[in-house]
Symmetry: C2
Subunit: 155 residues, 2 copies
Amino acid sequence: MKQDSRLVRMLHVLIHIGLLGGRETSETIARMLNTNPVVVRRTMSALRRKGIVGSEGGRGGGWVLLRPLTELTVLDVQTALREDKVLSAGLSSDHPACPVERAANAALVEAFARAEETLIGEFGRLKLSIIADAALADAKKLPARAEPPRQEPIR
Amino acid sequence: MKQDSRLVRMLHVLIHIGLLGGRETSETIARMLNTNPVVVRRTMSALRRKGIVGSEGGRGGGWVLLRPLTELTVLDVQTALREDKVLSAGLSSDHPACPVERAANAALVEAFARAEETLIGEFGRLKLSIIADAALADAKKLPARAEPPRQEPIR
DNA sequence: ATATTCCGTAACAAATATTGTTACGCTAAA
DNA sequence: TTTAGCGTAACAATATTTGTTACGGAATAT
């Protein structure tokens, strides 16, 4: 299956909005993500439901950040995108009554639960502002052309 | 995408073979897994390449365990099935030069690497014999019939 | 020898989840 | 009234595991 990249993409977007401090349209964001506005609305709507961003229709509308980057963690974004666990073992239900199958399932569930704890811990302490700072530091190291290769306005 | 259940399934099979101590045909194993022999051969061939099991064709052939359950870990089986990492963050490559995208990618890679460490640690210390013991203990607790679709009464 | 019982593999269909795309409706501001 | 936005439904494209069919080859029993 295709890899789920909604989390990184949302981090990318949120940090951009946070750094620019303003309002961005789905159209603009779509260009950031090399995709189209529908995908943006679809994904961002999950964040809106959790109060991370707000949206307004009509002229001059767009998306705004409702909480500063210092008060947003990767975990907040992750759980907004998916209620359930990040990691999950592929279990088997071929013979639910078989003690061996059950023990194998249980062992993997346990191991993944430990890994999930670790991951959630990392996500929880990773504020978006930390990632933003890293990005700024990185940008400073590079030649001045730091922004994404802008396409010329076509209209 | 569908969940990858090859690992649990192989654990299930290996432990069964280990406990029964003999040789099993793809046909028999397929019935264990509610699937068909081709799927079994396809998946088990990865384990053969790593010397975990051996196979013989012809009459009286089948699959045998080349290492005892006490000398096999979940990690052995996992790495036989996939060379690469168990966990991987969904990254983005929408604008590879954008410092924000890069920082977001890097942050997730880092977090997942920590989780992977935890998981590999768990897998590495989980010998198949431990899971086998758990299965036996479980089987003993239950009425002697281990197979049919029987469910614990839910309170 | 010949039939039977095995594995090995290629090729293709089915099921599933994310992503991309088109189309249309609604709202608010110019 | 027009225009710039979002909201949503519907469907195609893509990728991965799983299931299935159809072979061919090898070892053993008869």
